[in-house]
Amino acid sequence: MKINNYIRLKSPITISLILGLVFGATSIVSAATANTTINSTISSVISVATTGTVTLNVLPTGGGAQTIGSDTVTVNTNDSAGYTLTLASSSANTYLASGANQIPASSGSQATPVVQAANTWGYCVSGIGGFGATCPSVGVSNQAISGTNKFAGMPATGSPNTIATTATTAVNATTTVWYAVAANTSQAGSVTPYTGTITYTATAN
């Protein structure tokens, strides 16, 4: 009697256990033998971020006044060869123009930058070429022309200068480019401001 009751009471549980074991084991076996291949191609990317415009207003003085501003260029690439960032004027002209009036580029070069002369404009990138530590550390407006900060003239579009390069991938690699305009009272004042356009170019190495 006891045995019969036991069988009757426990039967559903036993059956459930057996079913569970059979199907559970089956599903475990299935999971163990099914293979999933995961393919993933990570695309190589390269990007440049800047501000778009640098404003350099000058209130000229007899001896020359200088205004310095900066632009931060941020490059990202996951290409293992790294990147090269160059800088050049967007055209064959390297001056800032206001109608027929011009502010020519500094006579210095990236290899041999010079203290800025009045009525010129230029750029400086710390640690590159001959700039060394001669770049400004802060922007200024209408100061007397610095005798320590050195600037190079903007190269024409066909002859860009390299301002940053890496041997490998880059994450938020920033390069600060300092721009300066110096003018004395002989520089023609302008109703239409002096403007110019430059292009940063980034390519993988």
């Binding site: 695309s43 390269i46 990007s47 415009t53 900066s70 060869a81 200024v140 407006s141 860009p160 170019t201």
Partner: protein, 307 residues
């Protein structure tokens, strides 16, 4: 009294805010224009007279809408540091004419991706060999009313092998790391390609201390264009101002793995050199002073003994 101080603090605060926001000299605004191109590099093998198609993406990851242009240029390099040159070389094939793009201009809003399809057609009769070009996406900002307008252009580099008759040949020209250096510790690898097509070189560069602990490890890959020597300058930007290190590595190209033998480098910054010079000078001066003093004492003792 307390009220007076309160007004003083408010005045200073307002003045500070004014100075920060209005007198700040000509710094450009925070980066807002971001141009991304993907992929960054494409390697293509194609025969003369054939065409191939593909695409790349122009992605706006910034926070402002901008317009852009799409165009191709040749890709050349100058010097061993590989300064890029995007001009057509007179007399050489202008590979930029091989490209046709589905769009030549457009605009992208923040977060938008614009797909650009291209068809690359190599004219029949083109000589077998390596050809190089860049497909550029360039922002086309309206000219600023004041100051310097900045455009960005980002290129997808095309390394193309036309035909099969190409020569792959190159060698590791030099592996150099001067013993005495100022930071950053820098080593150079020069690889020469004397063939007719580019090849890729993988390298590993390691800086370790005298006990063999790795301080800096760099794995990279560079392409070497034909008939050029490429100087890979490998600076360790975080190198300390003083220390003795071992540099080593290996470079792998054209199926050959070459070891870069271990070299020792003593890094001393300018300041450390000055301090070292001062310390050495002090030691020398102290030694001379001590020698002169002891000689004088000896002479005095000698005189005393004689007297």
């Amino acid at each position: 009294m307390v009220r007076g101080n309160y007004f003083k603090y408010v005045f200073v605060l307002v003045l500070s805010l004014f100075l920060i926001f209005f007198i700040r000299p000509n710094h450009a605004f925070a980066a807002s224009q971001d141009l991304t191109v993907s992929p960054a590099v494409s390697q293509v093998k194609i025969n003369p007279g054939q065409s191939t198609t593909g695409s790349f993406s122009i992605i706006n990851q910034g926070d402002g809408t901008y317009s852009f242009n799409v165009y191709a240029t040749p890709y050349n390099v100058t010097g061993q540091d590989y300064t890029p040159d995007y001009k057509a070389i007179p007399g050489a094939v202008d590979v930029s004419s091989w490209f046709k793009f589905s769009i030549e201009s457009g605009s992208v809003t923040p977060g938008q991706t614009e797909k650009v399809n291209y068809t690359l057609s190599v004219p029949a009769g083109t000589q077998d060999g390596g050809y190089y070009a860049v497909a550029f996406g360039q922002t086309n900002n309206p000219k600023a009313l004041i100051g310097v307008t900045i455009n960005e252009r980002v290129g997808m580099l095309f390394l193309m092998q036309v035909g099969d008759k190409v020569v792959k040949k190159g060698l590791l020209q030099t592996w150099q790391s001067n013993f005495f250096q100022s930071p950053p510790l820098t080593s150079n690898i020069k690889i020469e390609n004397s063939g007719s097509i580019y090849f890729r070189a993988n390298f590993q560069y390691k800086v370790s201390d005298l006990f063999g602990n790795t301080k800096y490890l760099l794995n990279g890959q560079k392409f070497i264009l034909p008939q050029t020597v490429r100087n890979l300058s490998l600076p360790w930007k975080g190198s300390p101002s003083f220390g003795l290190f071992k540099v080593s590595g290996n470079v792998n190209f054209l199926g050959k793995n070459q070891s870069l033998g271990t070299k020792y480098v003593l890094v001393m910054s300018k300041a450390v050199r000055i301090y070292t010079g001062i310390i050495i000078s002090l030691i020398i001066v102290s030694y001379i002073a001590f020698s002169l003093g002891s000689r004088k004492r000896k002479r005095q003792n000698h005189r005393k003994k004689r007297n």
